[in-house]
């Protein structure tokens, strides 16, 4: 009996997924639990496993195309089974076609020299319908025409990840041959020059499809600053001792590579345990208090940001925190975080100090109760015992969800945070 392959929910916030790569092609045998495809969710690239045995009979959503949760994206069945009934559940073709045009940036738009373009219109088959796999392994028939490609060119394109549909072959009858693939591969990978839409009396603009992660950021954050009543508390912290401590620890073992941010995470966790009202979140009709301080660390990545979580930071040593943050940030940048690694923080830290920002306000990542925005550390004249002295100062601003944290509660937390950070010996007291 045929097994329907539907777009699975691979992250808690995922609403649709984009096929990054099919790991099987039509006609391949698949067995239960085998990786079937890689799917870009809103946060990461995840492997989807087969939930049935048989042969991958039909791929309905090609590489680079998106489908909402639950949509039929492929069919697994016996080699000779009639799957027409199952296929009839797939959305009508034009819809998918449209989706493809709006969602997917053209992968290899570079061979569009005018004369080739012209040739394409006269020689080439009509646009391939929804099911064409982007890797070109199986050129698809499409009504009257079919994509013609030499076996070598097909293999080279698959290996280089080139979408054959974007090419016009230079061989007889439009056959795509080795030199066509080589021409694409040898082209510098530089992004195509963006073309701007001109409009009278105003700046020209260009529209680029919002990536999955950008769309998620947009959706999630309007559920924050709008519905969540924010207020902001700012304080200035003397960082000389913390900086000294960092220097001292790293002198003991240079491999530790403790950063100021690692110390901030550790101190925030310690302060959160002392102020459980801040380590909390507002849920419908209940206020949830957390046992441990799971601290989210905002990491900028290529097309957005993501906050991997240091679990139970209150129970971890500085060196553990440093190593963990480094490893998580690295995988965040290569989009290899698992959903459980970037969700469910109880509190977040966002640091823009490295960009020279003195202070800023951050937007709370719901349902967390607060987020701490860290500015740059810099030497400033300050008054100590009626003398002007120079100290390393750093401004932090906490955004609080007023539904769980009141002004004084937040201020007391910040006071503790400041006290420990100014005298990090408290960490060991």
């Amino acid at each position: 009996m045929a097994t329907k392959v539907i777009m699975p929910k691979l992250s808690p916030t995922m609403e649709e997924g984009q096929i990054s790569r099919w790991l099987k092609k039509e006609g391949d045998k698949v067995s239960m639990g085998e990786p079937l495809a890689e799917i870009d969710t809103d946060k990461a690239t995840m492997e989807m496993q087969a939930l049935g045995n048989g042969v991958l009979r039909k791929i309905l959503i090609g590489e680079g195309q998106s489908a909402p949760l639950g949509q039929l994206i492929a069919v697994i069945g016996e080699p000779d089974e009639d799957i027409a009934a199952v296929l009839s559940e797939a959305p009508a073709q034009p819809q998918v076609q449209e989706q493809k045009e709006t969602d997917v940036p053209p992968k290899v738009p570079d061979v569009a020299q005018p004369q080739l373009q012209e040739q394409k219109e006269t020689n080439s088959p009509p646009p391939v319908p929804d099911v064409a796999p982007a890797n070109g392994r199986q050129p698809q028939t499409s009504g009257s025409g079919r994509m013609i490609v030499s076996p070598l060119a097909a293999r080279m394109a698959a290996e280089a990840g080139i979408d054959l549909r974007s090419l016009q072959g230079s061989g007889p009858g439009g056959r795509i041959i080795k030199r066509d693939i080589e021409a694409v591969i040898s082209k510098p990978k530089a992004a195509p020059a963006p073309s701007y839409v001109q409009q009278a009396g105003a700046s020209a603009y260009r529209d680029e499809p919002a990536s999955q992660i950008r769309q998620t950021i947009a959706k999630r954050l309007v559920t924050s600053l709008g519905p969540v009543p924010h207020f902001f508390l700012t304080t200035e912290i003397e960082m000389d001792r913390a900086a000294e401590m960092r220097k001292g620890i790293n002198a003991l073992d240079p491999d530790l590579k403790i950063s100021i941010n690692d110390i901030i995470i550790k101190v925030a966790a310690a302060a959160l345990i002392q102020h459980p009202q801040v380590n909390a979140s507002y849920q419908e009709k209940v206020v949830r208090y957390y046992e441990h301080a799971d601290v989210g660390v905002a990491v900028a990545i290529e097309d957005g940001l993501i906050t991997p979580v240091v679990r139970a930071a209150d129970q971890k040593s500085l060196s553990q925190i440093a190593a963990e943050v480094r490893e998580l940030a690295e995988r965040a940048r290569s989009k290899r975080l698992k959903p459980e690694e970037y969700t469910g923080a109880t509190f977040s830290v966002s640091n823009l100090g490295m960009f020279g920002i003195d202070e800023f306000t951050a937007v709370i990542n719901p349902p967390e109760g607060a987020i701490l925005a860290i500015g740059a550390m810099s030497a400033k004249p300050v008054v100590r015992e009626n003398e002007i002295v120079i100290r390393q100062m750093m401004r932090v601003t906490m955004s609080c969800d007023h539904r769980v944290i009141d002004g004084a509660t937040g201020a007391k937390f910040l006071q503790t945070f400041k006290k420990i950070l100014e005298n990090p010996l408290y960490l060991v007291v």
């Binding site: 076996p151 070598l152 097909a154 007889p172 080795k178």
Partner: protein
């Protein structure tokens, strides 16, 4: 190294093997008193006597069978067909006796025999005397089929064929007997059967050629080099066993193949090589394998038509340009 003709190289090989092993003897029409129809056996009767170099009546089936019997009895006959066109009369002995004896005797009788002579076209000898028969003999398990294209290959391969314990069909080319080339002087110089030779290295197109088409392919390669196309020319030298590995390795490098052969295209050796390439290197092909074969007609007698029926340099050049997508 001496520069000699293919005719002389074959003569040297026969002489050296007659001298080396007294079990070796020659037999055929006009091989003794007349020195061979094409003078390949020149001087051998005089040198080795009439027990080792024997003229036969015009009885191909008879002396082929006599040779098989002599081989079963422990001798190593070298049987000359004046041309392989006459071997057609002897096919029952070649195919049913020589090729199958080892198998059907349960391994008791090796047949260390060589059937040799010119095959393919000559000059205006018309339909019945211009046939390239290698695919006939290569078809049968139990036979080895050798086709040299240079003096050195002719000598080294004939010596290996005579020393081989199985029946070998050794096909020369009448048009090539006078072709000259360097041949090593070493009396123990041999070339193993079943090993192809890369006659010219190149990167863009592989030309697989044998016998008559090897010099044509090399000339084509020179012309193509001037046109900016680098050709690799491979001579399998032995059709069975076929050194397909060397061909496949070349195809994986060049991605395009032309097979040049004198024989008819249908069920020919080129068809076999093409199938092997498709089975073993499909994903490396950038163009369909292209054959340049003898035209699919009985060989015409008229000179102009004969020329059109045999592959030439221009047809090979055109085929290479086609698979390289140049036209």
């Amino acid at each position: 190294m001496a520069i000699i003709t293919i005719r002389e190289a074959l003569n040297q090989a026969l002489r050296e093997e007659l001298a080396r092993d007294e079990k070796v003897f020659l037999m055929g029409e006009e091989v003794a008193e007349y020195d061979g129809a094409y003078k390949v056996t020149k001087g051998l009767l005089h040198e080795f006597g009439n027990k080792r170099v024997i003229d036969t009546p015009i009885t191909e089936l008879g002396f082929a069978g006599l040779g098989v019997g002599a081989a079963m009895a422990g001798l190593r006959p070298v049987v000359e067909f004046m041309t392989f066109n006459f071997s057609i009369l002897a096919t029952d002995q070649i195919i049913n006796s020589a090729a199958k004896m080892l198998y059907m005797s349960g391994g008791q009788f090796n047949i260390p025999i060589v059937f040799r002579g010119p095959s393919g076209s000559a000059f205006q000898v018309s339909s019945q005397h211009s046939q390239a028969l290698e695919s006939w003999y290569a078809y049968f398990p139990g036979l080895k089929v050798v086709m040299p294209s240079t003096p050195a290959d002719a000598k080294g391969l004939l010596k290996s064929a005579i020393r081989d314990d199985d029946p070998v069909i050794f096909m020369e080319q009448e048009r090539m007997y006078g072709q000259k080339g360097e041949v090593p002087d070493d009396p123990d110089f041999t070339i193993p059967l079943g090993v192809a030779d890369v006659k010219r290295e190149g990167t863009d197109v592989t030309i697989v050629a044998r016998s008559l088409t090897v010099p044509l392919a090399l000339k084509a390669a020179e012309q193509l080099q001037e046109q900016g196309v680098s050709c690799e020319v491979i001579d399998p030298r032995t059709i069975r066993p076929l050194d397909i590995d060397t061909i496949i390795a070349s195809v994986k490098k060049t991605n395009r193949v032309v097979i040049a052969e004198e024989s008819h295209p249908i069920c020919g050796v080129g068809a076999e090589i093409s199938a092997e390439i498709m089975e073993r290197a499909f994903d490396y092909l950038d163009a369909p394998v292209k054959r340049v074969s003898g035209v699919d007609v009985p060989m015409p007698y008229a000179k102009n038509l004969e020329n059109l029926a045999i592959p030439d340099v221009n047809r090979i050049v055109a085929a290479v340009r086609e698979v390289a997508y140049l036209d």
